[in-house]
Assembly symmetry: C4
Homo-oligomer: 243 residues x 4
């Protein structure tokens, strides 16, 4: 089996695994589980981790140029190995956004807006869950429930940054950094899409005005032509006047 | 009666209802009313609510495909049913902005600027009133008078976000979220309009330069033509030279 | 004398008056004057105020349609009458920026950048002075020296907004509002200018590539032409082959 | 030797000096050195300073118009003379970014993205080191370790600005100002690149649609042509029908 074939086959199962991971992770963090529930959630998360690790190994084995693939996918290895980068496993969910995008019709700008709105909502939710997971156990932390975490994530992604809540742990700040970059990109895409739309509308309006001007010139030309015709249909009279 | 006809008929009465609702709501919140005044304000707000509810029901009855309309207008139902979403009834006032826009002349960019300035001012004012309404009764809240609320709304919409005031209730944070999205859109429109203007000005300058170059080439061509004419007007002399 | 002529004549004297006002105002606020120095500064500020008031009256008298001019220049009246809007008298200094702009050469984008950099620097400086003037006398205020005021103004205009310093008086917040709007516009102009530049560079690169392709096609055409010529110069041989 | 030749020869040695300065400076600040280590770091920093000062003097001597060069390179003098502006010596490292840029391929937008990402990462790192150096010795300061300094720099460059950490010394605030300007430029470049990309994609889509329309028109024309041919190939029949 080739690597390309494996990636096509595994795309949807891995997305489903990411969804299961998201549900179990969110349940564990928000529910602040203990006892049996925590064990169940941990087992589900462990299983999804095993699936991601297996996918990484299969890809490594199937890659035509193994070392090159290894070097260009160092981040994939880190996501599998480091528990710190666990939230990044949810990057798989971008596949779902691709579906959302397909249903949004053919217009490019419409798809960009759908994609960005979906990605921003997902980013804010995942960042809130992940920050709560990192911060809750810290004594200095102010982010101690999911409501506050969601509020903090929204204040951060829009780059408002009140500072009433701010992460204090290294892991929480790493997540915050990713969220801020997402916010900068969000602002950029919103502005760029609006700019593209305004530039187009203004250009179209100018074209309309030019077309209108051309139309008027043509109408003027026809009026002159009709005047000429009127003059031509009185040949003798005008000939009489000119000696 | 068809739904379209109803919507055309009801457009201005509903906008007037929204204005009355805004005045009564602002009066109640800023005035921090009690006794008879509070009763009057509550009755006026109740009547405007009844009108919005009636409009929703009539639309539902008149809709050609009732279930489809119901599913695509879930937000309208929530705005009528949930007191939490009460400020969203003021979305009706966008109709007023459409009038403002019409008076701003034909240029597309001019209308965008007028519309955005009006929408931003309305958004800041309504958010300040709504946040004050949500926060004042909370013990932890810092936003306790209208001046502070307006200042907070302005600091938020520009994404500055000092954090000297920040909402602590769920409803206040929901309003803040809407205001932040408005701020991101505001920044986007300002930038996009400026970008469209600069792109156009630069393009026009380059066209002018190209036109100037073309003009110089044409002038050069005419000079050459005149040289040729001068040479041609001395036929015998040049003929003499050539054997 | 017509109003247009008066405005042309008074342009530079009024700009000079604004510069004198700026120097006296800055000296009074930063120096935190008392005694004779304060009296001198107040007299200078009073004289500049009288000049601005006189200019307003002369404009009102000379205006062809007096009431129309009055209604469309309400802000000018408020700037003269209300001490609160005193910093707005410095809007006159924009004339100086126009000179700066003229020296920046013909390129539109270059002039935009010069103008915006100058306006932003002036805005930050004036806002810092004005906020210090408004806030220093208030007991709750944190902005009590010029260094802090300048730092606050810079943090605000870039929309970073730490919140370590924030105005608490109504006048200080009004000034802050103007500064924030300036910051939003600043961000917009920076982005728009960069966007215009990138769009142009990308378009030029594509044109270069298209020109290169066209050049290659032409070269190919010439090669084919030379092949044809070579074939044509051997007429008998080819004629012999074809019966 | 001419100045141009000296600058070409000294470009890479000076960049290497800047790298050594960066390493020594970072080591001294983060390590919070004392005793022998501090002495070594100070000596290395002193040597790199001497090299920069020497380069300034050689440039001054070799400049064709010495006074003009002196006036237009005042900043270079200040960077060498004032210890406060020491971090600005790292501007030399921009040469490294130019190399990074060269490896990023020919596409203009790709190079802009590579350059900006590299410059932003360098800016955040250097600002964190420099702010830590300025703030640590101050009693009121909150930025006392490198982790906090890096977090502060990231929060600032994205213009989020929580305010949990903020510089209090004049030197720290000067560095913060530079970082904020970098943040504004960063936001601008991200948005502008996205805008350029979206404008291009939309334009291409429209061209495709227009090409498709033209294709359909041509196909229609060919169908009509074939109909005509069919009719023409039955000359007698049609001739019979027409008398």
């Amino acid at each position: 089996m080739t690597q390309t074939r494996w990636q096509r086959l595994s795309e949807w199962p891995l997305t489903a695994t990411a969804v299961i991971f998201l549900v179990a992770y969110t349940w564990e963090v928000i529910g602040n589980l203990s006892g049996l529930s925590e064990l169940v959630a941990e087992i589900v998360i462990g299983v999804t981790w095993a699936i991601f690790a297996l996918d990484y190994l299969i890809n490594l084995v199937l890659a035509p140029r193994r070392w090159q693939w290894f070097y260009t996918h160092i981040l994939d290895l880190l996501i599998v190995v480091l528990p710190l980068l666990r939230p990044l496993r949810l990057l798989r969910l971008v596949t779902l956004l691709a579906v959302l995008q397909r249903t949004a019709g053919a217009a490019f700008r419409g798809r960009v807006v759908t994609y960005v709105a979906g990605a921003a909502a997902l980013l804010v939710f995942v960042a809130a869950v992940a920050v709560l997971d990192s911060e809750r156990s810290n004594a200095d932390s102010t982010i101690t429930n999911f409501g506050d975490a969601l509020w903090w994530a929204f204040v951060t992604v829009t780059t408002v940054g009140y500072g009433d809540f701010a992460p204090v742990t290294a892991q929480g700040r790493l997540i915050a950094g990713g969220l801020m970059l997402g916010g900068v990109a969000l602002l950029g895409v919103v502005t760029a899409t609006l700019a593209s739309w305004i530039v187009e509308r203004v250009a179209r309006q100018e074209e309309d005005e030019q077309a209108a001007t051309r139309g008027e010139i043509r109408a003027l030309g026809q009026q002159i032509g009709r005047l000429q015709d009127t003059l031509d249909s009185q040949p003798s009279a005008s000939a009489d006047r000119r000696p």
